[in-house]
């Protein structure tokens, strides 16, 4: 039975340029002298290093653990010594640095002891299976890099369909194509594990019709399997998850929603092969296939690269750069971004290194005003109004842009591709998105600051009130007992005086030095007595 296919709105047919990198089989990349392994190679939290500088590590040894639910661990891709854990440039549009673990390789490429678990995965607890995939550091290898173990957790939803994405719709990139041609059995084995984890009813593998060799190889490998290989007509951006779901099932993923909500999970074919390596061989994710291509490189080909290998080493292996290279792009010409240096390492999401020449790039000087032709809206695969979004982003009316569903934009670049005025539309959307995120962070911070300020204010008020209350209480406490005490004291003194007087009278004791006094001395005594008398009377009066 031939499966009925659907069509998503829009899309484009850019020149493919795929044949140039598929002439030779996948080659192993040379072992570099130094591996630079960023702790952040995926979506989510960065990994946390669990090794120290000076440690000797073996190939496949875990060197950083996942630091949260949405995070991934990192493994040493070859044996060697950790020489640094420091900030180095990583593949990111900003060109900024982030924490990396640097390994000086020892050339032995010695594996850590590894192997599959004793029991087959079909008998394993599913959560244990997912955990094995998680500790193997597997993330989506199609380009986004979302930790795969999370996408293999249906979390209560019933998963109907597992789709393996072998569409690879972006021009120039051929790493999935070559993987499907050369190692279809690995993909199938990984797909079976994924299907088991998800308990999916059916499993589809989608391949565009510009990859007949891959299609044939997969059909051949699926002969005895309950897996359907579907050929889909070539159309960019069909490799995008939601667009592919529409094509294969006719279902539309809700805005802001995820495919599992409609019972579908999509994984890249490369990810499936990595899952096979992790479960059936016990090998963590330490290498991937990278397409090195473009007009700027002498011998385009696909290489199996150890993660952390500097891009320059791959370019060297492919015959070096031509003189007219304008920029090195990670990813394809539609969605990739330029690298600021060729010493930047290959990471888990590096599917392609594209050496673009000047003729492949639009210069900012070519940009012309928008003529409101509407071509962008015709090709937009998510049915947005690209032109309108661009106006809002440009005038910084981010709220309006959000009202027009800016965050549904998948940044596929169709609108910019067809724009007759060469307006860098996607750049505007990326600008607006990051601005909005920054504003949201600011807002969150402001809310915390407000709360802290108000708390401080109320604390100061409370302390003031408490202090005043304490003071008043003390004052009252000091005053009251003082009166009573005074009386007591007075009475005690009086009593003592009385006792002394009585004693004196009884004993008839007189001071012994009062005889033979000079008149002056007598006068002094009399004065003192008079003063004493006076104080006594005045005290008694008071």
């Amino acid at each position: 039975m031939i499966r009925q296919l659907f069509r998503f709105k829009g899309g484009i047919h850019p020149p493919q340029h795929k044949d140039r990198s598929t002439r030779s089989p996948i080659q192993a990349a040379w072992l570099p002298k130094q591996l630079i392994l960023p702790l952040h190679q995926h979506i989510g939290e960065s990994g946390e290093p669990i090794v120290a500088v000076g440690d000797h590590v073996l190939k496949g040894q875990k060197i950083a653990r996942a630091s949260g639910y949405v995070s991934a661990s990192v493994h040493a891709s070859s044996s060697g010594t950790i020489t640094a854990i420091e900030e180095l440039p990583i593949p990111h549009p900003s060109g900024l640095s982030a924490s990396c673990i640097v390994i000086d390789t020892d050339g032995e490429d010695r594996w850590i002891e590894h192997g599959p678990e004793d029991i087959p995965y079909t008998e394993m607890d599913v959560s244990h299976l997912r955990n094995l995939i998680r500790t193997s550091g597997i993330v989506g290898l199609g380009g986004a890099g979302f930790p795969s173990s999370i996408k293999l957790n249906p979390a209560g939803s019933k998963i109907d369909t597992l789709i393996l994405n072998g569409v690879e719709c972006e021009p120039y990139i051929t790493c999935d194509d070559m993987l499907m041609r050369e190692r279809p059995e690995n993909i199938i084995a990984g797909a079976k594990i994924m299907r088991h984890a998800l308990n999916a009813r059916q499993c589809l593998i989608a391949i565009e019709d510009n990859k007949p060799e891959a299609y044939t190889a997969m059909i051949e490998a699926c002969k005895d399997e309950d897996i359907e290989v579907v050929q889909v007509p070539t159309l960019y951006p069909q490799g995008s998850e939601k667009q592919l779901i529409k094509v294969l099932t006719g279902k539309e993923c809700p805005s802001n929603g995820l495919p599992f909500q409609i019972g579908i999970v999509v994984h890249n074919v490369g990810t499936a092969a990595a899952v096979h390596n992790a479960i059936n061989l016990g090998e963590p994710l330490i290498s991937r296939i990278v397409t090195v291509t473009g007009d700027g490189v002498a011998e385009p080909c696909n290489l199996e690269v150890l993660l952390g290998t500097p891009m320059q080493a791959l370019l060297d292996q492919c015959g070096g750069l031509n003189s007219d290279v304008d920029r090195i792009i990670m990813g394809g010409p539609m969605m990739g971004f330029a690298m600021h240096s060729t010493e930047i390492p290959v990471i888990k999401t590096t599917n392609c290194i594209l050496a673009a020449t000047e003729s492949n790039v639009t210069a900012p000087s070519d940009v012309m005003p928008c003529i409101r032709c509407g071509a962008c809206a015709d090709v937009c695969p998510v049915d947005l109004l690209p032109q309108q979004l661009q106006w809002y982003a440009r005038s910084k009316e981010f709220e309006r842009a959000q009202e027009h569903n800016l965050f549904d934009c998948i940044e596929c670049g169709c609108c910019a591709y067809v724009c007759p005025s060469n307006i860098p539309l996607v750049h505007y959307y990326r600008y607006a998105k990051t601005e909005i995120w920054a504003q949201e962070r600011e807002k969150e911070k402001a809310d915390i600051a407000r709360q802290r300020h108000e708390f401080r204010q109320s604390r100061i008020e409370r302390e003031k009130a408490e202090k005043a209350a304490r003071l008043a209480k003390k004052k009252a406490a000091v005053k009251k007992p003082a009166d009573g005490e005074k009386d007591d004291k007075q009475a005690a003194i009086q009593a003592a005086l009385d006792r002394a007087k009585a004693k004196k009278e009884a004993q008839g004791v007189e001071p012994k030095n009062i005889e033979n006094m000079t008149p002056a001395q007598q006068k002094q005594i009399d004065d003192a007595n008079a003063r004493r008398q006076q104080t006594d009377t005045s005290e008694q009066e008071s």
Binding site: L96, P369, K396, R430, Y431, T434, A446, D447, A449, R452
Partner: protein, 184 residues
């Protein structure tokens, strides 16, 4: 004639009661406009606007006592948001109150700090940790960069440093525009 007067009086009484009831039943606590304005302000509590904090400035704006362009930490974004909320035209930041600077965070040079607690008393968001004659330090994530702690420090050991950009906080720059485009 009498009927009309009675009817109108009755209606007046009914509506009066209704309004009276509504006033009690749907009473609004505080001035929502002040809160709305306060929600837009960046809450640095720096006082650069001339008011002792964001809330007093928000109150002043709500009472039409202050312009909307007196918040340097909020900058253009805040002015646009306030203009939007109040239906006014955005105006450039008042140069008198300062200029929009990149986000900063205070850092205490712990070698020099003498533990006088003056900065702790100045900090509007309790972001400084320390005690008398003990070294003080800034809780960086809580610091709003208001600079209020810099002035009171007797040994000048507090520096304002720009927040370092990383890949998690990086923003795509505004796209370059050609002259022809900018004319639009």
């Amino acid at each position: 004639m009498l009927t009309a007067v009675l009817a109108l009086t009755a209606i007046a009484i009914i509506f009066g009661l209704l309004l009276g009831f509504a006033a009690v039943r749907f009473k609004v606590e505080g001035d929502p406009l002040v809160d709305q304005i306060d929600a837009i302000l960046p809450q640095t509590q720096c006082g650069q606007c001339g008011y002792p904090g964001c809330k007093p400035y928000a109150t002043a704006i709500a009472n039409n006592e202050a312009d909307i362009n007196r918040c340097p930490p909020g900058g253009e974004t805040t002015i646009i948001a306030l203009a939007d909320l109040l239906g006014k035209d955005p105006i450039p930041l008042d140069a008198e109150v300062g200029e929009e600077k990149p986000k900063m965070v205070a850092i205490i040079d712990e070698e020099t700090c003498i533990g006088c607690t003056l900065c702790i008393q100045a900090c509007p968001v309790d972001a400084i940790l320390g005690a008398a004659k003990q070294m003080h330090t800034i809780i960086e994530v809580e610091c709003t960069g208001c600079e209020l702690c810099v002035e009171p420090c007797p040994v000048d050991c507090i520096d304002m440093v720009p927040i370092k950009e990383d890949i998690f906080h990086w923003k795509w720059p505004y796209p370059e525009q050609t002259d022809e485009e900018a004319k639009l």
